[in-house]
Amino acid sequence: MLKIIHMKVNGKETELAVDDRESLLDTLRNRLGLTGVKKGCEVGECGACTVLVNGEAVDSCIYLTMWADGKAVLTVEGLKSPGGELSLIQKAFIEEAAVQCGFCTPGLIMTAVEIVGTGKKYNREELKKLISGHLCRCTGYENILNAMERIVDETYRATHR
């Protein structure tokens, strides 16, 4: 059944008519054209569809859109500045060559946003656990961890001066 919901998507108040059987993944991709949210396994294993709902990373493929009614949703498209400049996290991924085919990248970046948002410092082992909900089939994990480590350190130092 079609239902009207309200979400704040990437900072913008959005009113939408959605089917109540829809996943947030399908709503974001098909109704809002946010194709940075990738459709991978569709069973919550690969993490490619990760977005933030009220600041928490969730697999949008196993998250019903109805649950996001009244909440704030952030996708990779929402990270760039109004002037179109990439965020520090995105830049770190580029600088560390943490992107190969790029399919896992938007999801991993959203998890990085959640991690950086905690304001805590994490060592490499802890970071490995924190990204364990993502699969990179190019197996470029080393560079992804380098980027994560870099951005976590930089942010921590910037806020604890």
């Binding site: 059944m1 089917d19 109540d20 059987r21 829809e22 996943s23 399908d26 569709e42 069973v43 919550g44 294993e45 993490g47 990760t50 928490e56 990373a57 969730v58 697999d59 196993i62 998250y63 019903l64 109805m66 649950w67 009614d69 998890t111 959640e114 656990k129 924190l130 990204i131 364990s132 909900g133 993502h134």
Partner: protein, 296 residues
Amino acid sequence: MYDIKNYYEAKSAEDAVEALSKDPDSEIISGGTDVLIRMREGKDAGKSLVSIHNIEELKGVSVEEDGTVLIGPATSFSRLTNDPFIKEHMNVLGEAADTVGGPQIRNTGTIGGNICNGATSADTASTLLTFNAVVVLKGTDGTREIPLTEFYTGPGRTVRRQNEICIAIKIRKEDYEGWQGCYFKYGKRKAMEISTLGCAVRVKLSPDRKTIEDIRLAYGVAAPTPIRCRKAEDLVRGKETKEPHLTDLLADAALLEVNPRTSWRASKEFRLQLIHELCKRAMKEAVLKAGGELDA
């Protein structure tokens, strides 16, 4: 699009019970990390869903005046792990919750779903058994309280009726105060894994930390349902921590109470070995955490 017949977003626990009663073919969805996957695989396709996802009264941890802890069933694993009270008084439960799936799953999956699914592999179930947790169910005739030890009736089956919802998981003060515990999960990989075997041991030492005043042992995947090993506990209760081969005494006795099966994940023989070894390691860790010393 999911193959859902009818979808209803419940406004309160009472509202959910009413909606479930109206449609006997409906089931509850909370975090959705199991229900939606079963639906995707076709197992639960075409069912009606009553969602309790956004009911705030079913979330969070609260403590009553007498120290009894009430865990809201719709509390996500990550909220549970990070809850200040859980961290301070029942850290082992937070640690067990932190072994479920991966970070995103733990942000949506709930402890109530973990229990009400009836899965023997539920990571929080064995630990909750060692807390003597009680499941509070709400139905059309009011509420009833079922000890977790009597909650499971078989693989994937519990005493919960179709139109009942879990409104709290209750733990008494004497079951957490002064205890220390450890949960070990064995899986083929470190994350995104259903446990091959899970073992929880909790101990309460005497004030001089030389005697095991009380001990509790529970397993996941060691039988068709999560189980407590009371006979093994009885053997070790009251013993001095320094008694030789104390962990072997517990682990040997546990082997007589379990009933693991062979599945594609592991053979019965391998599970029996895990049941013995993880028990020893978990007991050792629990005694160390409690400030005691073990001979073995």
